[in-house]
């Protein structure tokens, strides 16, 4: 096994992308994700790759669109306001069925917001990363180790389903250092991409990458086909961690940085004899509703804890589908909840369900 080293989340993610075979990075500076770009700027020229600082987030995502269309593993990274700007390009990537990786190291919003960690882009990532009917794969790391570990899977599932993938992190995970074992080598080499626009070499007919369909029935057909793929993604690609769930009655649901705080609150609640457990979504699209479903019988209540005003809670409610109550606790604007605050909410709920 490779050595455990201490590294920033942003740098671990960047290095893991290189291990996953990414040689093309296009970005624009924004706090708190800048180390991703800085790391790529240092490393990619050493290994024959391309690092390019674009004139805007809009240009950066469109450079990714071009590179992905040419058939290479390409990525961009940004933080919330910058990801808003990428929305147009992400919609085109989805409409053109192109795989790529987009990293969002979230900060508080709306507007210029703040620069401290937040999870208020959940809706944007899972509901509407751009105009039109589409989804992207969304992965939510909770540790620096996962900042590295989820990258290869994101690239390979993006390739497999021909859709963009996003790593939805936050300023805490991006900026903090933790011990990490970096992945070695490219265990998921990209599949052949016969659809790429890389020159037909006079041996095949010309490829066209396009998202324009002026005939409504044609457009509907492509969208319906894409949604059939999304159904397969929902069936087969859900990932979540279950923590102290087997006998739990109060199920906390939390992802990313917040889930670490929640885990600590769950441990404290258990010490008080409260049967709390944690379901930690690792994929946000597909949302791991199978995990909710598995425990909905034994659960007395679900509690969504987020660094937002309540966004993932909608997916929990959809999965619970009215069978059990779903409560919420959140901080927003860049404020991290504390384990004691979450414990307080657990106690309040435990009092209510007894």
């Amino acid at each position: 096994m490779a050595e455990k080293i201490i590294m920033k989340g942003n740098e671990a993610l960047a290095e893991a992308a290189i291990s996953a075979g990414c040689r093309h990075f296009f970005g624009y500076p924004i706090t708190p994700q800048t180390e991703v770009a800085a790391h790529m700027a240092k490393r990619l020229p050493q290994i024959g790759g391309t690092f390019l600082q674009a004139e805007s987030e809009i240009a950066a995502i469109n450079m990714v669109l071009g590179a992905a269309a040419a058939g290479v593993r390409a990525m961009t990274s940004s933080s919330s306001p910058g990801v808003s700007l990428k929305s147009e390009g992400i919609s085109y990537l989805a409409g053109c069925d192109l795989p790529c990786l987009i990293v969002n190291v979230q900060r508080g919003g709306p507007g210029l917001g703040g620069i401290q960690p937040a999870q208020s882009d959940y809706f944007h990532a899972t509901r509407s990363t751009g105009h039109g009917d589409f989804h992207i794969l969304v992965f939510a790391p909770a540790t620096v180790q996962e900042m590295a570990d989820l990258v290869a899977g994101a690239f390979s599932l993006a390739d497999k389903y021909r859709m963009p993938a996003m790593v939805l992190a936050d300023g805490m995970l991006g900026q903090m250092m933790e011990p990490v074992v970096l992945p070695e080598g490219d265990s998921n080499p990209p599949p052949p991409k016969p659809w790429a626009v890389n020159g037909h070499k006079n041996i095949r007919s010309h490829n066209i990458i396009n998202s324009l369909y002026l005939e409504p029935n044609d457009l509907e057909r492509t969208v319906v086909e894409r949604y059939a793929r999304y159904e397969e993604v929902k069936r087969t690609e859900q990932q979540a961690e279950e923590y102290l769930c087997s006998d739990a009655e109060i199920f906390l649901v939390s992802y990313g940085a917040t889930s670490r705080i929640v885990k600590s609150a769950v441990v404290k609640a258990r010490a008080e004899g409260i049967k709390a457990g944690l379901i930690r979504p690792i994929t946000l699209f597909p949302f791991p509703d199978a995990y909710i479903d598995k425990y909905v019988g034994q659960a007395k209540v679900f509690l969504s804890v987020e660094m937002s005003m309540g966004q993932m809670i909608d997916d929990i409610r959809l999965a619970v589908n009215g069978r059990k109550p779903v409560a919420f606790f959140g901080r927003t604007g860049g404020v991290l909840p504390t384990p004691d605050e979450v414990l307080g909410k657990i106690r309040e709920i435990a009092g209510g369900v007894k």
Binding site: H24, L52, I58, G66, A67, A69, A70, G199, K201, I208
Partner: protein, 251 residues
């Protein structure tokens, strides 16, 4: 019997969607002839815009990609950086290149991206039905300047080649037109030169082609050509605004 005129190999045998009298067809042909003569169709990737040429992906036989509005040169950058040995061109109108895509244009140019940009300037938004373009002339009546373009309100028309010629990364910036046999021949030479520069790794080339829009100008083809000569060429003079590799005295 000897064939003296035929469809270029890299142009698809499909009906074009352009209006009668439009010069897009001629410009497409010049691009395709250049690709054929240089023997590069198999390595070429074309990027088409949002605008009248949006469906040009069906008209060229090389690999094609359709770009978001204004972003063609960012896409071209991504393709070229991914496959440096490919030949990448964009085909863009005035709204696409000089309004919504100005940042992408200026920065691809200043980076000296080794791509070929074909810029069709007809001083109007064609596809959406005749609104003011960044290159619409002072006083020009369009759907969104019904009293004529008032530069005090709507600003001045942009001279793209002159602006880009100031940038280090630009190898070739040339304005041509296709209003006569003579100018068509000159336009062909310029377009082929731009592709040749890319093959030689010389950097960014832009060929601006003054073009007509009989439909939205509300003029016959003949009158449109005359309007171009009388109004566009005086404001947008033809010529080479930058040629980094011109031989001394050859200009």
């Amino acid at each position: 019997m000897a064939t003296i005129f035929t469809r270029p190999k890299s142009i698809a045998d499909v009906p074009f969607s352009y209006c009668p009298g439009c010069t897009h067809g001629i410009i497409h042909r010049l691009v395709a002839e250049s690709i054929d003569e240089l023997g590069i169709e198999g390595n070429t990737v074309g990027v088409c815009p949002v605008g009248c040429a949006v469906m040009a992906y069906d008209y060229f036989n090389c690999d094609m990609i359709q770009s978001p509005h204004g972003r063609a040169q960012a896409l071209a950058t991504g393709i070229k950086r991914a496959i440096p040995e490919s030949v990448v061109f964009t085909y863009q109108g005035d709204g696409d290149l000089a309004a919504i895509g100005t940042a992408e244009t200026v920065h691809a140019a200043t980076r000296g991206e080794n791509i070929t940009v074909i810029f069709v300037n007809n001083a109007i938004y064609g596809m959406t039905g005749g609104q003011m373009a960044p290159t619409s002339l002072s006083g020009q009546v369009t759907q969104t300047t019904p009293y004529g373009r008032d530069t005090a309100i709507a600003g001045h028309p942009v001279r793209v080649c002159e602006m880009l010629a100031t940038l280090e990364g630009v190898a070739l910036a040339q304005r041509v037109t296709v209003e006569s046999l003579r100018t068509v021949t000159a336009a062909k030479q310029a377009i082929k030169k731009a592709f040749t520069y890319q093959l030689e790794g010389k950097g960014y080339s832009i060929i601006e082609v003054l073009s007509i829009c009989p439909t939205n100008w509300g003029l016959s083809t003949e009158k449109s050509l005359q309007w171009l000569r009388d109004n566009m060429i005086p404001y947008y003079p033809l010529g080479v605004f930058k040629d980094k590799y011109a031989k001394e005295g050859a200009k």
